[in-house]
């Protein structure tokens, strides 16, 4: 009986345990199902998020592929081109005893750059100006083909800016020039050659931390004209003599540059003119630049001489018979033996967007004899406008203040004092305002 009781007790206990376990299992099973359902819902949510990310990535990949295809097409194109240039307008007041003041329409200089693959670049600049008579003048400043032979040699053919010095080739654009006008003796009517038509070899060679640069050229050279000796590129040479020259510079570091320039033209007389001797032209020059941070300090010096042009020599006076194309007559234009000298020193410093500038320069035109002096006075009466040549020395001091709206949009105001030791010219002061835009 006791054994039966033990057996019954054990069975009951076992049944109770199993029953409670089963009940417990049923409760956990319900919780497990609920957990599984929750996990499934979360999994579904994450799957949807993954699908959305996949879709966005696919769209982004397609967009990247499209952009890359467009970029590759542009980079792979044989011809690329770029339109640049500059323009300016302003107002000038001249105080030379007269009440002259003028708004200046300035000029518009578009520059066209066309590149074929990696080695050939065609570049040209036009200059469009409004004359004092209200007419539009169009000139080709330069039109040249550049061939990049290697890292250190570029060949240039065509009409190019004179590589003599710094100002004409690199600094004359109005958004780069720190003042509204050129230094005395530089630019039109001065001692500086402006352009040349011919051939150049140029380049730069790294030398340690420095760079050595060179430019050598051959061209048609200067020719006689209404204003005397004209230092611009002529499309047709009047003789078989060529002009040769170049500039050599050394930059010990990128902030400092020293340059030397040379030019020689053996004979500028036309082949059909019987002259007793050669009318040679020679030039030499030196320049430097220091640019670091807000500072820009630079200077240039040019010295040139011309032997004069004559068909007959009488007491040093020379005469050149020139056919006036407009009137169909021959007229005598005296081109005396002459020496030119021009130099300037310029200091500029930026204070945020403001930039004060100081430039002092002198331009000297020295005829070699009294007869040459008289001949040059005759020449100076030619209708060459404000840049007519004179005999003597001009001393020019210019004080300017620029405001940089952007690095290439510059507002300039400057006052200038010009002193002449030529009795035929009055000293003058100028107030100049200019807005220039480089694009």
């Amino acid at each position: 009986m006791a054994r039966l009781h033990k057996l019954l007790g054990f069975s009951l206990t076992l049944a109770l345990l199993i029953g409670s376990g089963f009940a417990f299992a049923q409760e956990d099973s319900q919780a497990l199902r609920e957990d599984i359902k929750s996990l499934e819902e979360q999994l579904e949510t994450m799957k949807k998020r993954l699908d959305a990310i996949e879709s966005a990535k696919e769209h982004t990949d397609q967009r990247i592929e499209t952009v890359a295809r467009q970029a590759n097409a542009t980079d792979a194109a044989d011809t690329k081109w770029h339109l640049a240039g500059y323009a300016n307008a302003g107002f000038t007041v001249i105080d030379d005893g007269s009440d002259e003041n003028s708004f200046t329409a300035g000029q518009f200089n578009p520059m066209f750059h066309f590149q074929f693959r990696d080695n050939i670049l065609f570049e040209a600049e036009l200059e469009l100006t409004t004359t004092s008579e209200g007419e539009t003048e169009t000139e080709i400043e330069y039109s040249q083909v550049d061939y990049f032979v290697n890292d250190n040699l570029t060949l240039v053919f065509g009409k190019f800016l004179s590589p003599i010095g710094q100002f004409q080739e690199r600094l004359h654009p109005s958004w780069i020039n720190k003042l509204p006008n050129a230094p005395a003796g530089f630019g039109h009517g001065g001692a500086q050659p402006l352009t040349e038509i011919g051939f150049q070899a140029r380049g730069g060679i790294s030398a340690g931390n420095g760079i050595f640069t060179y430019t050598v050229f051959a061209g048609n050279g200067p020719q006689p004209g209404h204003d005397g000796l004209e230092l611009e590129g002529f499309g047709n040479d009047n003789n078989d003599d060529k002009a040769f020259g170049g500039r050599f510079a050394f930059l010990p570091n990128p902030n400092l540059e020293f340059g030397l320039s040379l030019m020689t033209a053996g004979d500028i007389a036309p082949d059909d003119l019987d002259t007793p001797g050669d009318a040679g032209y020679d030039l030499y020059g030196a320049d430097f630049a220091f640019t670091q941070g807000p500072w820009d300090v630079r200077g240039e010096f040019l010295s040139s001489e011309f032997d004069g042009l004559s068909t007959e020599e009488e007491h040093g006076k020379v005469a050149f018979w020139h056919k006036n194309e407009e009137e169909g007559e021959e007229e005598a234009i005296d081109i005396p033996q002459t020496d030119w000298q021009a130099w300037y020193l310029q200091v500029a410093r930026q204070f945020g967007s403001w930039e004060p500038v100081v430039r002092y320069g002198e331009f000297e035109l020295d005829a070699r004899s009294e007869d040459d002096h008289a001949a040059y006075l005759l020449l100076s009466k030619s209708p060459a406008g404000p840049d007519a040549p004179f005999v003597g020395t001009e001393k020019r001091l210019t004080l300017g203040l620029n405001y940089l709206f952007t690095p290439s949009v510059i507002g300039k105001i400057a006052i200038e004092d010009r002193g002449f030791d030529d009795e035929h010219l009055e000293d003058e002061q100028r107030l100049m305002l200019q807005l220039s835009y480089g694009f």
């Binding site: 770029h82 640049a84 750059h113 902030n255 640019t291």
Partner: protein, 100 residues
């Protein structure tokens, strides 16, 4: 006595496994692709050359002013003007094109 594995442990393990799997899947999809063309050393040289040589003549203009193909042409024009060595010009191009 029946030894029943705790359900909480199973639940937690399942959730952790699911999170790890989905996280790994998302991480592999988000891996950035590398641009094989960019040379950081050339761009650094170009940045220095741009700052030093371009300001020899004019104020520095923003790289964002031009598109890549325009910088190819414009820098070559400047290379002629300033007589820059060709490799220096290429460094400047790389910097400008990576910064526009």
């Amino acid at each position: 006595m029946i030894n029943i594995v705790p359900i909480q442990f199973l639940r937690r393990s399942a959730m952790v496994a699911m999170l790890l799997f989905s996280g790994a899947a998302m991480a592999s999809e988000a891996k950035p692709e590398e641009n094989p063309v960019v040379d950081p050393a050339q761009i650094a040289r170009g940045a220095q050359a741009w700052a030093q040589h371009c300001q020899r003549c004019h104020n520095l203009r923003s790289p964002s002013e031009l598109e890549d193909y325009e910088w190819d042409v414009s820098v070559n024009h400047m290379r002629v003007r300033a007589n820059l060595p060709g490799d220096l010009a290429e460094d400047i191009k790389a910097f400008l094109k990576s910064s526009n």
